[in-house]
């Protein structure tokens, strides 16, 4: 096998691995403050290069009541049993920060749904919340999280800047 063949095989493996990344879901997340809103759509797993792209940002007031609406759809043809859909709003130190640890004092709201996901199955949620004060908050819904394999989940997320 010459160097060119090795390079082609290596490229094929990399492409295959990239395609296999993610848990097989579409995720959509919308946050509104009554007047304005922003929508984020599924990203690849947090270890994928696209995770470095800038998050959608919604600016609002600390007095606002925010409404987050999320939807998860199984797009893969396989069935996943007892899957977890995890939604949360957590205060961050700065914009662009990776999802932080969910210390109770920093989490505004958190929910977890467990159900089976055959192909095409859907779960939805709508949650109202108010923020703790001025700051930057990560609003995120994720599915397919595996504690033993960080970064394989599918998710949608945006940043909420409260002033």
């Amino acid at each position: 096998m010459n160097y060119r063949s090795v390079a082609i095989v290596a490229a094929y493996i990399l492409i295959t691995c990239a395609a296999a990344h993610g848990a097989g879901y579409d995720a959509v997340l919308e946050v509104r403050d009554g007047k304005n809103g922003q929508t984020a759509r599924q990203n690849k797993s947090s270890t994928a290069p696209s995770a470095m792209s800038r998050r959608v940002v919604l600016e609002g007031s600390t007095d606002d009541h925010f409404t987050a609406t999320w939807k998860i759809v199984r797009k893969d043809q396989t069935t996943v049993k007892d899957e977890l859909v995890h939604f949360y709003v957590v205060k961050m130190e700065r914009q662009g920060q990776a999802p932080p640890a969910l210390a109770p004092s920093r989490v505004v709201i958190e929910s977890a749904v467990t159900m089976d996901f055959p192909a095409g199955e859907t779960a939805r949620g709508t949650q109202e919340f108010r923020v703790d004060g001025p700051g930057i908050y990560l609003v995120r819904v994720e599915v397919g999280t595996d504690p033993d394999k960080p970064g394989v989940e599918d998710y949608a997320e945006l940043e909420l800047v409260a002033k």
Binding site: E110, S111, M115, R124
Partner: protein, 159 residues
């Protein structure tokens, strides 16, 4: 605390399931008091059990938490709506319904399937209330394909 601490609590609670369609545990935690309500049935709309009462002050840090777990052994309950809210009521302690003409403090819904034993939803939310009065805190099932629905409710008095 790792990112799955809350989920671990949900898993533990699933093991306490009893013989009902849904097992519900609803808690409000205030600085000085905490109240917990368990599954009740509708009808009647306000259930059979007295509502526990939690007292707090204006602006207190409150934590709303609930878990709804399927305990229906026969099949998956498809497309169940789980609704929750904190809303003003006229008076605490008499099973009054929420005042629908007044804005809720918070509310939300989940649309999901409930698989026997393992189907569940849990939520934890920190909040505060800026106005004195009595509030009903309730989580309930909707469209669960039964002749009755399940809920848990308690009263929250802000002084």
């Amino acid at each position: 605390m790792n990112r799955f601490a809350f989920l671990g609590i949900a898993l533990l609670l699933a093991a306490t399931a009893r013989a009902e369609h849904f097992v519900i545990e609803l808690t409000i935690q205030a600085p000085q008091e905490e109240a917990t309500a368990h599954s009740d049935t509708d009808p009647p709309p306000q259930g059979h059990n007295p509502r526990p009462i939690c007292h707090a002050k204006v602006g207190d840090d409150l934590t709303l938490q609930f878990f709804v777990t399927s305990n229906f052994p026969h099949n998956v309950l498809k497309g169940v709506n789980v609704r929750y809210y904190i809303a003003p009521e006229k008076e605490a302690g008499n099973k009054s319904p929420p005042e629908t003409d007044k804005a809720s403090v918070t509310e939300g819904t989940f649309l999901m399937d409930f698989k026997p034993e393992t189907g569940r939803v849990g939520l934890r939310q920190r909040l505060h209330i800026d106005k004195k009065g009595a509030y009903i805190v309730r989580v309930e099932s909707e469209h669960s394909d039964n002749d009755h629905e399940h809920f848990a409710a308690l009263d929250l008095v802000i002084e």
